[in-house]
Symmetry: C3
Subunit: 214 residues, 3 copies
């Protein structure tokens, strides 16, 4: 059985994965700026956020993490950190763009994560969870590192889209079709649900009174 | 050499493991409630706490994590989260039951964790540590995710019982006996020491003045 | 191809690794004291800080973590915790020695970490990153566990020396030389840069106004 994303051009897949790493890296870098880290901390956070989801997925599948062995992912993460630092003054108060970049990365990674899991003979339910972890893992670690409760815990409208996007891929593959439209649909579903969620989110009770010291 | 827990009925072992996942999941869900997470966050936290210890053990042994590949563990974790959310108003102020549920899960997991480690040719000392990690890993991650110092660090009366329960199993196996009474004794020892510790704990100096903002 | 550190006496390497685990353990124990953990928490933190970097490296390479399977590392970590606890009153206000011990452990681990990575056919860039992770992983986890932003994020003068030390080893090996002077040079470079950084650090803007509650 060929890989789930077999029909896609390998170069396109690589570019997409690097792009996802880059936008997650920007999200990490922006969080580093808002936590007032110096340039080194911002770069480290950008790299970590960019590659942590995929690494967690690979560890959970039980295969050697791929991104840590590929200097291009590391380079893209560093670039995201440097760019974030350079654009620091302009980006400082942009909380909303962080969420949108997160949504784009989330859509990319939940689909490629689910595909990778399915390629390693993981069941459909588990592939959905692993796809979601690929998407949310970087952001969760980002928040832990700057001592915030991970956004994935604070709002289901972060986990739900990742699960939905991964589910589209997993259900399609389990149904026997490897039509390449489904990964695209999965990514679109994830992004749309997440974008809708960002607005709906405003009305969901989340913050704890206990956390007002943050 | 058959597995350490070979003589136990496989269905019984599965039920016990799922039960342990469930009570840890409740513990995670209750922490999510007290941290005022929404239902999605509560479910995620329940699943994470339920399976994190076993996953950490498997990663440290160097085998593919089993629970992430078994939808039943995921389903039980989700169920624990949903039930916690539904019982939310009644459970909100129940700090003590969280500890008792933790103790039960701790007893189950330190024994099965040590047995799994021994099945993979790990030495006795290491199996004890891995058994304890299986027991305390979920709770530690739970606390980290809601920004508390892990209970395992705040009180030795959490790590000690897990080590004791795992030690009973490891010592028995290293002594050449695979009598199934020893895993039961190990679980009982862990639970009893932990329960005793909860009371003794009241007199151990733990909290830092620095942490009074929590 | 023999291992990178092949020419070193195996016993010497073991002793150095155990020594690195010990000083990292002291660093962890001292952090536990300053966080007012009890003796059990201090021991757990000492063990975790001592072995976490190497375990993270092994997981990222995709090999079974070695230190968790070797009771000597566990014993050294426990010893570091006990000694820290015993010296508790005298060490309480010694923030500077924590940093110096960290620097020594950092120098040891970034070199052995890079060497281990190179031994597993990881590329030079990735070996540098893995060497740095071996050095900074323990300290990062230490800080997360006591709810501080990891020092590696707060100051590039922590990550930079680890990267520099690992780079010396990786570049030497990639250049075809396995002269044993290079690991020594790498460790010296890491230690010197880190020591210099501790002073320079005083003038780098790091702390966030938001974190003044810590």
């Amino acid at each position: 059985m060929p890989p789930v994303l077999h029909g896609f051009d390998p170069t396109l897949l690589l570019v997409l994965n690097l792009a996802g790493t880059f936008v997650f890296g920007l999200s990490g870098g922006l969080k580093g700026v808002s936590a007032r880290l110096d340039i080194f901390g911002i770069i480290v956070l950008a790299v970590v956020v960019g590659i942590a989801g995929g690494i967690t997925r690979d560890v959970l599948i039980g295969i050697p993490p791929q991104t840590i062995r590929d200097w291009r992912y590391l380079a893209v993460g560093v670039a995201a950190g440097v760019i974030t630092f350079a654009a620091h003054p302009a980006l400082k108060r942009l909380e909303r763009p962080i969420l949108i970049l997160d949504a784009a990365g989330l859509a990319l990674f939940c689909v490629t994560g689910a595909a990778t899991a399915l390629d390693h003979n993981v069941g459909a339910v588990e592939a959905i969870v692993l796809g979601a972890i690929t998407g949310v893992g970087g952001g969760a670690l980002r928040d832990i590192l700057v001592r915030e409760v991970p956004v994935v815990l604070r709002s289901g409208l972060y986990a739900i889209p990742a699960l939905a996007g991964a589910a589209v891929v997993a259900i399609a593959v389990e149904s026997g079709t490897r039509n390449l439209v489904w990964p695209l649909v999965g990514a679109a579903v994830c992004f749309a649900v997440r974008m809708a969620g960002i607005y709906f989110d405003l009305n969901v009770p989340t913050a704890s009174p206990r956390e007002d010291e943050t």
